[in-house]
Subunit: 410 residues, 2 copies
């Protein structure tokens, strides 16, 4: 909980009463997020006085971020409070995901509800960059119109891409699996759109998926976890103390190129025995006797799952071996980051029942602290939606963290 702004500007910044107000407004809004609460309850949760909460809530009401839900049915003696909740029409975020196997776009309101969803499956690798970006821009235009029709003011747009993003320049540096490099995605999408955009931001899909999982709120009280996103490549989104850790240059979480088997097969990156080579989707499919090259992502996975459902030995063995390798990678994550929760997303989510036991065994053998502090390994809640939803909600994050700064609907 910091009242100082996070972000690229690393310079130490002085603080004044306005920052205090912002911080406390964020606290109040966070308290309201968890469900209908009265002003007095918010005061109890946040530690602020009722007077302060009242004043902040007044501002949030006129900003349209919070609504009063009328007097609550009395629960005991004393005057009953008036319930407060996030205003579903208080604003929305648009999320877009550009991925190897398709495009998707959602509109999410302040309460986290998905109000609009469109997906366009299909292999994007054969298509020209411009064509893909134009399709994506069209999805955004539809989403913006849908939001307006629903009476929602769009506060921001988040775009998720499968590659390394230069956050300062907001440029996609390289996306190996798309074959793109140095693409100013936002700029080109914006110019392909016919509508005026609110603020927009670009980020890596694993990072945004991790944020999506974080905000889905189903992972207990943990504010430190790693989302391991399995696909052809293997990436990790690292959330420490509630904050996404992109690393100094945004290149963090490259779990796929962790060395697991020094004498293993050669990787595209030039090294040997990268995790990606012995736990990635292609390897699993090959090992299971399926054809990875012709059938990618959404195509081959059903065949694999069918084989697993029938306990086909090669498929089961492939996934179990991948699980063991993955466990070595997870052990490394836990030994280094000391997170207590690891969430498996992407294709690892449906494969979880078969991956779990070997992965857990490897982790328990290799993590020194596992004896004192249990490590939770769970499948992703949002599944393939994690990145889009995370992108949309990240667009709302600024509003939620600093409700009075960027607020003001219409």
């Amino acid at each position: 909980m910091s009242i100082a702004p996070t972000g690229p500007s690393r310079r130490p910044r002085p603080t004044d009463q306005a920052d205090v107000r912002r911080h406390n407004a964020g606290l109040v809004l966070a308290a309201v997020t968890h469900g209908p609460v009265s002003r007095a309850e918010v005061a109890g949760l946040t530690g602020l006085t009722r007077a302060t909460v009242g004043s902040i809530v007044d501002e949030l009401l006129v900003a349209g971020l919070v609504t009063e839900q009328g007097t609550r049915a009395p629960r005991g003696v004393g005057r009953p409070g008036t319930d407060l909740a996030l205003d579903p029409s208080g604003g929305a975020g648009v999320g877009v995901e550009i991925n190897v196997d398709g495009l998707s776009c959602v509109v999410v309101d302040l309460t986290g509800e998905v109000r609009h969803r469109v997906t366009r499956p299909g292999d994007q690798r054969g298509r020209a960059t411009g064509t893909v970006l134009r399709s994506a821009a069209r999805l955004v235009d539809d989403a913006l119109r849908a939001a307006e029709a629903a009476g929602l003011t769009v506060r921001g747009i988040g775009v998720a891409v499968p590659g390394l993003v230069d956050l300062d320049a907001q440029v996609l540096r390289i996306a190996p699996n798309l074959g793109w490099s140095d693409v100013p995605v936002l700029e080109r999408m914006r110019s392909a759109s016919r509508l005026t955009w609110p603020g927009a931001s670009l980020d890596n899909e694993a990072n945004l998926a991790a944020l999506g999982e974080l905000w889905s709120g189903d992972h207990g009280d943990t504010d430190s976890f790693v989302l391991v996103n399995g696909d052809v490549g293997v990436g990790a989104g690292v959330v420490l103390e509630g904050r996404l850790h992109r690393g100094t240059r945004g290149f963090g979480g490259e779990l796929g190129h962790l060395t697991v088997a020094p004498d293993g097969p050669e990787c595209r990156c030039g090294a040997r025995g990268c995790l990606e080579q012995v736990a990635g989707l292609d390897w699993i499919l090959r090992r299971a006797g399926l054809r990875p090259s012709s059938a990618h992502g959404s195509d081959a996975t059903p065949a694999l799952l069918a084989a697993l459902a029938e306990s086909e030995p090669r498929a089961v063995g492939a996934v179990e071996d991948a699980g063991a390798s993955l466990g070595v990678g997870i052990a490394a994550l836990v030994n280094l980051f000391d997170v207590d929760t690891v969430v498996l997303g992407g294709v690892y989510a449906p494969l979880f029942p078969w991956l779990e036991a070997p992965a857990r065994a490897a982790v328990e053998r290799r993590v020194l602290s596992a004896r004192w502090a249990p490590i939770s390994i769970t499948p992703s809640r949002l599944g393939r939606d994690a990145a889009v939803v995370g992108a949309a909600r990240s667009a709302l994050r600024d509003v939620l963290a600093d409700p009075l700064g960027a607020a003001g609907p219409v």
Copy 2:
């Protein structure tokens, strides 16, 4: 930069003007740390107004944390400013290190200068826990007396241990290389001491060494780096954005048990191929034909260095092989954390000339982003002192971060 308190209490806390004051006082003190500066320069550095800086400096002066150094020799037109600097007698921290190869203890003043230093080399593994702790307590007593004699008020005591520390309970959970487990180090040292202690804290040596390096301030502008501490064990202290990352439970940075050779020798931890087993000091010494068991730490290292100086092939080969394995570990760190600087400490510091090339080669082969973003690998500046000095300074950190909260000399 946060004005909210960090620490075990994770509950969201409201903020008020007092916190603003604390935050800004910390800013001012940080600006003063970098060298003699005038009030006006501090205002420029921090973004505060001269009025505010003046008022804060007044408080820091009466608190005895800052001194005026008289009018500065004029540099151009205008009234010359009065230089401010940290008060060398403004307080001190005591650091103690309990390690396999000896005990050491230092007193560090506010400016970071070491004012007292005692080391007691010798293998601690044969000695009973109580005996070791009593020796350490005696060192602390000597340090407290030395500080008093120098007119320094000791603000806190930091203890560094080579093992996993439960920060909430302040208990050393396990120190494999000492053979200790579940030792309430602080409690037992305190009761073995004849003097009254100020606040004390216990932490892992690699973490404290990383803090020591961070505050030594010689690593450029980086505020994200990893210190890899080589000894019989291998630990890592992770500093991200200027903050030490202990992980959710303080068990982070266990680099020594990263798997680098799945079929390698069995480790004490039960797994196979831990980095510690193929790049730790014992392994290097054995491989170099020296006797690790009879001659530890400060005893065997000179022999190794002498052999290296004479280019003795077995010694050179041993260190080069260790460097290659270490490089695999460093690559994992960089791929996951995306730090741009890795500092090698402990025994790795004197071995650096021989380690560097193979380690760097392994890193460059295994880190995907190394092509765009160069990775700096340097030896530690503080060498074997990093952990003790870090421990002493960590005891001062609370004062520096919140000068007005815990201040008040005498």
